[in-house]
């Protein structure tokens, strides 16, 4: 396999253009199916009523927010190791989508928290580490924006992303530990024991849709970045 064939922006540009619409279309179909299952097929939760249905957005968004940071760090590491131009472009194309999903996860989480917990915000371990993840995404984007030379920006951001990805588990566990120290079981995230099969189906459909949406948007964004930085053509 010639892995490095597509490492050049010139050859990747048309490929990205071909991938983006298909992924976008698939994402739209899957999201429609997932939302249908979530709103009309899945049963009402015995304890939380209809409010629980926001998990069909919330949980996949939270998954994607963490997963995209790892993907970003992967591209960053690749860029530092092989000094390829495309890797840095991919990392900076993924960052805004990751930040978006982090924000969506926090937003829908607080929308769910108000009727269920009776409060918009709780210093729960997961909420807090998600918030810090959002700060990490913002730091990445702010550093990229502050450096004039895009190649230098890519490499500096790559170091930051790698430092961040090492820190994320440490932050997660320290926050969890802090949380268990500070407050008792005033709020519990545990839901009804077994999740209905349709609920799981809806959630997985939405997760796939978000995944494909991320690919589509990253491809479109990476094409914009390529156009900004160098002369590329179909």
């Amino acid at each position: 396999m010639r892995w490095f064939w597509y490492a050049s922006p010139q050859t990747f540009f048309p490929l990205a253009g071909r991938i983006a619409p298909w992924c976008g279309l698939a994402a739209a179909i899957l999201a429609a199916a997932g939302l249908y299952v979530g709103f009309f097929v899945a049963p009402t939760d015995a304890q939380q009523g209809e409010a629980y249905r926001i998990i069909f957005i919330h949980v996949p968004a939270a998954w994607m927010s963490m997963f995209l940071y790892v993907v970003m760090a992967f591209w960053a590491a690749l860029g530092l190791a092989f000094n390829t131009r495309l890797s840095g472009m991919m990392a900076s194309a993924i960052a805004p989508t990751g930040a978006l999903f982090t924000f969506i996860a926090l937003w829908t989480g607080s929308l769910w928290g108000k009727p269920t917990w009776g409060t918009w915000w709780v210093w729960d371990a997961r909420l807090t580490s998600e918030l810090i993840l959002l700060f990490l995404y913002f730091g990445f984007m702010a550093l990229h924006a502050a450096i004039e030379d895009p190649r230098r920006a890519d490499r500096a951001c790559a170091v930051l992303a790698l430092v961040g990805v090492v820190n994320i588990p440490i932050i997660y566990y320290s926050v969890q530990w802090w949380n268990t120290l500070h407050q008792g079981a005033s709020v519990s995230l545990t839901r009804a024991p077994a999740m209905a099969k349709t609920m799981l189906t809806g959630m997985l459909l939405m997760a796939l849709a978000f995944w494909l949406y991320s690919i589509a948007v990253a491809m479109v964004r990476v094409r914009c970045i390529m156009r900004e930085r160098e002369a590329v053509a179909e």
């Binding site: 810090i132 550093l143 502050a146 170091v159 930051l160 430092v163 320290s174």
Partner: protein
């Protein structure tokens, strides 16, 4: 290799000694920030005792961040940094020595003065050693992580604010463990676990942060 580290360390310490006002400013900042909280929250002794570890740690965090942007700036401006990058001594060792000098000039005074702040907050005297120890273990980690941010933002416009945005989220575990150690001791269950974890964080940071700092410096001064 060790000679180079010693040389950089003594040079940076000498520079800090010659510019005593920089060190004093950071220390003063620490004291002022810690003194603002009772004014804002109220002087209720029980409340102050409860928030003391957290306030002292947040103030230490901010104060150690204040001097970070100066860590490489002067060397960058007068070309010393380029010589360090070109020199035979491994860059990782050099930056480790620089981070150590930064801690000795900005972290160690905090450790020394923290009991005085704790006194203002009416923290029980038995907690002073735990507080000092947690700061002594935690502030070097802050210096090491902060040095990564300082190297990344070297020579950028608006570097100071950007540095805060990059570094503060990474400080979170140290803050939790440091303040937690004192709070746990105050609650009577001992803070050994937190102190051990802080020591582990210090070892981890001392081993890996120099690589990241060196890589960031090479990128910044291309």
């Amino acid at each position: 290799m060790l000679a180079a580290a010693r040389c950089v360390l003594s040079r940076d310490l000498l520079l800090a000694l010659r510019r005593r006002s920089d060190v004093a400013t950071a220390l003063l900042f620490f004291v002022i920030v810690a003194s603002l909280f009772p004014l804002a929250i109220g002087a209720e002794p029980n409340l102050l005792r409860e928030i003391a570890p957290g306030v002292i740690w947040v103030a230490a965090l901010l104060s150690s961040m204040l001097s970070l942007s100066r860590l490489f700036a002067a060397d960058h401006a007068d070309g010393t940094l380029e010589q360090m990058l070109l020199g035979a001594a491994p860059l990782g060792v050099v930056v480790l020595a620089k981070a150590a000098a930064h801690w000795l000039a900005s972290g160690l005074p905090l450790v020394a003065i923290a009991p005085v702040i704790a006194l203002q907050y009416d923290l029980p005297a038995v907690l002073y050693p735990v507080l000092a120890l947690s700061l002594a273990l935690g502030t070097p980690v802050l210096s090491l992580i902060g040095a990564i941010g300082a190297a990344l933002t070297l020579g950028l416009r608006g570097g100071g604010v950007l540095l805060a945005l990059l570094v503060l989220p990474l400080y979170v575990p140290v803050l939790i463990l440091g303040a937690g150690a004192v709070e746990m001791s105050a609650a009577g269950s001992g803070g050994e676990a937190q102190l051990l974890l802080l020591a582990a964080a210090l070892v981890f940071a001392a081993a890996f942060a120099p690589w990241a700092i060196a890589a960031a410096l090479r990128i910044s001064s291309e």
